[in-house]
């Protein structure tokens, strides 16, 4: 067997905070930007700045990516900033597992597992989809690199899945 077409790496602990709220509310946008330094993302977009990021997950849900140690504080801070505004901010860092897919065949690895038009996946877009039999979300996180998030309990399945897809030839 030849070289894998992409390298699969667990990204390690990643702080994540889920925020459900009215995304058109200015107070929500201010709280999110204050917590992350990122502008509010539009539908299906992910905005990154200074090692943090905010991803649009659904019409009333965001996912904030922050350093792992900061996540509880970010969740608590959002709750405080949005007191009086209907919202739900919860830390979900430990509920997820994150992987990077890096290399010339990174797109092909995704195309083998996810029903995503990866050829036309632009920078700055997050796609909620599935990887084979489990839920996943992915976005371009760098040159020749895709980040993929899945649920923690299936981390072993997803890692092996990505590795097996990367063993095959380019599409």
């Amino acid at each position: 067997m030849s070289e894998p077409i992409a390298v699969i790496e667990p990204a390690g602990p990643q702080g994540m905070v889920s925020l459900r709220a009215d995304l058109s509310d200015r107070a929500v946008a201010q709280a999110v930007t204050a917590a992350t330094g990122c502008a509010m993302p539009g539908p299906r977009r992910i905005v990154a700045a200074g090692g943090k990021a905010v991803a649009w997950m659904s019409p009333d849900e965001l996912l904030l990516l922050v350093p792992h140690a900061e996540a509880p504080g970010v969740a608590a801070g959002l709750a405080e900033a949005l007191a009086g505004t209907h919202h739900l901010a919860t830390e979900v860092s430990d509920a997820r597992a994150m992987f990077t897919i890096r290399g010339p065949g990174a797109d092909d690895v995704v195309a083998k597992l996810c029903p995503v038009d990866v050829e036309r996946l632009p920078e700055g877009e997050i796609r909620r989809t599935r990887a084979a039999q489990v839920a996943a979300a992915l976005w371009r996180s760098g040159e020749g690199e895709i980040s993929l998030v899945a649920f923690r309990s299936v981390a072993g399945y997803v890692e092996r899945l990505l590795e097996v897809a990367a063993e095959g030839p380019r599409l």
Partner: protein
């Protein structure tokens, strides 16, 4: 004799010989050969036996439509049955074996069936094997199973890699003939994102064989130029060896790429299944030539005329020195010319048409070849190989006019467009009287999400059999602007439909006219079906098995339904076609499985402590996709012993349970209390902050759906625990109501099941071990009473502690961040050492809850049980105006006093009642079955009480305390059980309230 010609063969490379074996005999072919071409070059015409009569069968076709030439290919783990040699590329070292015969291909005992053919008519199995009834199971079925199935199944695990991939395009062009190439060029030049796929390894379809001139160049050169141009377009993806297997709703196209069938073991995936979302599909899938139905048309050496031409031109293979051609159209004359060009003899062209004057027949006559007008074949001579044909008048009954010696017969009954992709999603067909063929009806296409046609048929697949029309049609289908490629071919005179040859053939001849070669369906079988009242073509298909073989009737369907139409005295369109279903040709099961095999067969969900359990003797139980320890076996210990030890240790000392799989859903917002009051049968809005309450959820019909403990975290936030299997379902249920019904309620939910590891610390020493861990939570009975929760740190880890109990013991369930779950668990194990801590599994959990009379969703409930059946009336609010299930519970059947109700059962002799046993009553029901008055829902040996305990739903059960029931088990024994309260252990709750 078939053989290799000295010259020619546009696809073979004579510099690259390849060795292979057939039934162990060494043979030689060339690179570029199909296995069929190579077998014919080695004079192997006879390659298999038919399914029913074991008739000798030879190669008929040159492509995917081949019904006969199926072999077992490969050896050992790579053995695979039913591989079509006509689509198998030859590779060095290939080995093939023939199928469906014993002891050998040339001498087959099963061929006796052919002698018995008249006793094995259509529907034989249905008629024969009905009576006597008991014979079915013990005699007929084993006999039929023995003879059923073609080829033998591989035994070893498939060593090859298979994968799937997703593709997206504006236009998917299916078919690599000149039509497909023209359509792809047109779409590609327009800037569309195009996929072009061809099932074979080579391009150009029929035009390159038939010597068509395209745009002033030989078709061969035009094809090469087209491929070069397409290869240079960044927006076009060109794929050979890729078969479009099926088209589904919304342009979802399944394509099957055979990457490494011809290079086995080279490390590449053998097959790749593409799941393509196509904006539009252009079906340029060509047409398939039809056989003619004459007596003996299945004798090896009788082939399709186009296939004979293919073998001569593509692979320089002669099917025999002398080939008689029989036809009802002009196209077959091209075969006569191709054979003459190769220096072979065509003794005659037998044409069913009375008057033949076209340019092609004239060219044949000019070569000195006899053309017999108005003639047909009365009979093919020969058994395992054609030796000659008997000629008759097509208009007559089969009187032999002359006999002509020959080695092969090339037949052509006209052409049928390949309309499968058009039809898979509902595209309709129209009967073309002039062409005697079904072709796509452009007024009734398959439609996509926007209501517009999602398939365009192009070229021969659209009924345009002449190259010039074909190219113009394909150019337009591809959205081409400007002039279409032009083609020059000889003009063709119209064909004359011929469904039986000769038209007046009597029963003896009709019983030798094969329609479906693989399943042995003859003209006489279809006519018999019609006489027996089978009028629907779908019923006739199933009754006769016409078109039900692995080739799915590619050669036989049109001929079969034409014969049926004649028998029913109705026009062909009134009979119609059977349904075209994917896949177009069989695809490997391994490609359908893709990566989902072995360790990736199913996702396995692991709790944070999974690896610890595995290292400590966990005997696993699957719970949904989770694995949970059923018990932890110690060395030399049986499973039952382990379970008993775990129960006793927990009741008397300290047990730990990994409860991480429990659903944990946060519900927050100004309307959260109101929302939960609707979801649960009892009141949750009144639950004080800091407290917990057990709750039930029902569906709208009132049936119990899930249960769990709810904790109020703050003024506007609740945490709902669900069953392990219910976490995702209940979260979806909540969102369904919030998004679809109560969309204006201000409530948000989040499923935090996987954010937390949860550990149940259970037993008299539970408080002691937690206090030993240390932290800032006051765990005293006064500060943290039963059904309260608190948060803080325990052993340095932030934790939420719920004082709840599913065992009846002093018990805490502690949630910590999942990332620290393993560390927390190990702290508890270490700190618990002094208290004799042991982990316990799901079976101990089940036993302890049953000892306490706690119900389990899925044991005491099965979707037909309401809370009242289980004595849970106390958990149903009388005050609330409404909740999900309230009205359902008020229906008469739900309030029927005769509904079976929950009781406990105990066996005086201590035995354990079998799970699922029914309690019989007197008398029998309308079906003659014994009446029942109850059933066992849970049953265990209780290590605490050291006897069998059970829970059961019993008619008027709570009113029958002390009554003894006789419960027969399937083991033949009758168990005596006394009706008791379902709470077997510590009914006052003294152990948990300490």
């Amino acid at each position: 004799m078939s053989t290799r010609l000295a010259q020619g063969g546009r696809l073979i490379d004579r510099q690259k010989p390849l060795r292979f074996t057939f039934n162990g005999l060494p043979m030689e072919g060339y690179e570029g050969d199909t296995m069929a071409a190579a077998l014919l070059a080695n004079d192997r015409m006879l390659v298999g036996r038919s399914f029913k009569y074991h008739r000798p069968r030879g190669i008929v076709a040159s492509g995917a439509e081949e019904p006969n030439a199926l072999v077992g290919l490969g050896e050992g783990a790579r053995f695979e049955p039913n591989q079509r040699v006509t689509t198998t590329e030859l590779f060095d070292g290939a080995s093939a074996i023939s199928q469906n015969h014993w002891p050998s291909l040339d001498f087959d005992i099963g061929a006796i069936n052919a002698r018995l053919a008249r006793f094995l008519p259509a529907g034989f199995y249905y008629k024969m094997f009905i009576h006597p009834r008991p014979f079915w199971k013990h005699v007929y079925e084993p006999f039929i199973r023995q003879s059923a199935g073609l080829g033998r199944a591989p035994k070893d695990r498939d060593p090859d890699r298979y994968e799937q991939a997703y593709g997206f395009c504006d236009v998917a062009v299916v078919g690599g003939g000149v039509a497909g190439l023209a359509a792809a060029l047109a779409a590609g030049r327009a800037g569309k994102r195009v996929w072009l796929m061809e099932q074979a390894a080579h391009w150009g379809g029929r035009a390159v064989v038939d010597g068509v001139t395209v745009d002033g160049a030989a078709a061969e050169d035009w094809v090469a130029a087209a491929l070069a141009e397409l290869g240079g377009m960044a927006n076009v993806r060109v794929k050979a060896r890729t078969m479009a297997a099926g088209l589904y709703d919304h342009g979802y196209l399944l394509a099957y790429e055979r990457i490494a069938d011809h290079t086995p073991g080279d490390g590449r995936p053998r097959h790749r299944l593409w799941r393509i979302r196509a904006g539009q599909v252009i079906a340029a899938t060509g047409a398939i030539e039809r056989p003619l139905a004459f007596a003996g048309n299945d004798v090896p050496g009788v082939m399709l005329a186009s296939a004979v031409r293919d073998y001569a031109v593509n692979w320089a293979v002669s099917p025999g020195d002398r080939t008689v051609i029989v036809t009802n159209n002009d196209d077959a004359y091209r075969t006569a010319l191709a054979l003459a060009d190769a220096g072979l003899v065509v003794p005659a062209v037998v044409d069913a048409r009375a008057c033949v004057t076209g340019a092609l027949p004239q060219a044949v006559r000019d070569r000195g070849i006899r053309v017999l007008e108005g003639r047909g074949i009365a009979k093919v001579k020969g058994g395992k190989r054609v030796t000659g044909v008997a000629i008759c008048a097509q208009a007559g009954e089969g009187s032999v006019l002359e006999e002509i010696g020959c080695d092969a017969v090339a037949m052509s009954g006209g052409w049928s467009p390949v309309v499968h992709l058009w039809s898979h999603c509902g595209g309709k067909l129209a009967w073309d009287e002039a062409g005697a063929m079904f072709r796509p009806d452009p007024a009734r296409p398959p439609t996509g999400a926007d209501g517009a046609a999602m398939v365009v048929a192009a070229g021969a697949a659209n009924g345009h059999l002449q190259a010039a029309d074909c190219l113009a049609d394909a150019h337009a289908a591809g959205g081409g602007t400007g002039a279409a490629p032009t083609a020059v071919t000889e003009a063709e005179a119209p064909l004359e439909p011929v469904w039986i040859m000769p038209q007046g053939a009597g029963p003896a001849l009709r019983a030798k006219m094969w329609l479906d070669y693989q399943n042995d369906v003859k003209v006489s079988d279809v006519q018999l079906a019609a006489r027996e009242g089978y009028e629907s073509v779908e019923h006739t298909k199933r009754y006769t098995t016409l078109g039900m073989a692995t080739d799915q009737g590619k050669l036989s369907n049109i001929n079969g339904l034409a014969v049926l139409s004649e028998a029913l005295h109705q026009p062909i369109p009134a009979t119609g076609t059977t349904t075209f279903r994917p896949p177009y040709t069989p695809i490997s099961l391994a490609a359908i499985a893709g990566e989902a095999k072995g360790e990736l067969f199913q996702p396995l969900r692991r709790t944070p402590m999974h690896d610890w359990h595995e290292a400590h003797g966990a005997y696993w139980e699957p719970v949904g996709h989770w694995r949970r320890p059923y018990c932890y076996q110690r060395s030399g210990e049986g499973i039952e012993d382990a379970v008993r030890r775990e129960v006793r240790n927990t009741r008397n000392g300290l047990g730990l349970l990994d409860a991480s799989t429990l659903g944990k859903i946060v519900v927050k917002g100004p309307d959260a209390g109101r929302f939960l009051d609707m979801l649960y049968t009892n009141m949750m809005s009144t639950l004080p902050v800091g407290k917990c309450r057990y709750g039930l959820m029902c569906n709208e019909q009132g049936f119990l759906s899930d249960d769990g403990v709810v904790a109020r975290l703050s003024d506007d936030t609740w945490l709902c625990h669900t069953t392990s299997g219910g976490a995702d379902r209940i979260h979806g249920w909540m969102e369904d109501w919030l998004q679809c019904e109560w969309w204006d309620w201000k409530v948000y939910t989040a499923n935090l099941t996987e954010q937390f590891a949860q550990v149940a610390v259970v037993g008299p020493k539970a408080r002691a071990v937690l206090e030993k861990l240390g932290g800032d939570i006051d765990l005293s009975a006064a500060a943290l009473p039963f059904m309260h929760w608190a948060e803080g740190t325990l052993g340095g880890i932030s934790a939420r502690v719920f004082r709840i109990s599913f065992s009846g013991e002093l018990s805490y369930e502690i949630a910590v961040p999942a990332g620290q779950g393993r560390a927390f668990w190990e702290q508890l194990i270490a700190a618990g050492e002094d208290f004799g801590v042991m982990p316990y599994g799901t079976e101990a959990l089940h036993i302890m809850r049953a000892e306490k009379g706690f119900i389990m969703i899925g044991d005491e409930t099965d979707g037909t049980v309401i809370p009242q059946d289980l004595g849970l009336d106390w958990a149903i609010s009388k005050k609330k105006a409404d909740f999900l299930g309230k009205r359902g519970m008020e229906r008469t059947h739900m309030t029927d006093p005769n509904r079976w109700k929950l009781v406990g059962l105990e066996t005086p002799d201590g035995s354990v009642i079998p799970d699922g046993a029914y309690v019989p009553a007197t008398g029998v029901n309308a079906n003659g079955q014994k009446n029942t008055q109850g059933r066992v829902t849970s049953t265990y040996h209780s290590p605490t009480l050291d006897r069998g305990i059970a829970m059961a739903l019993v008619l008027n059960g709570p009113d029958r305390m002390g009554e003894v029931l006789d419960i027969p088990g399937i083991d033949g024994k009758v168990y005596r059980a006394k009706i008791v309260s379902p709470v077997f252990y510590d009914p006052e709750g003294e152990k948990q309230n300490v």
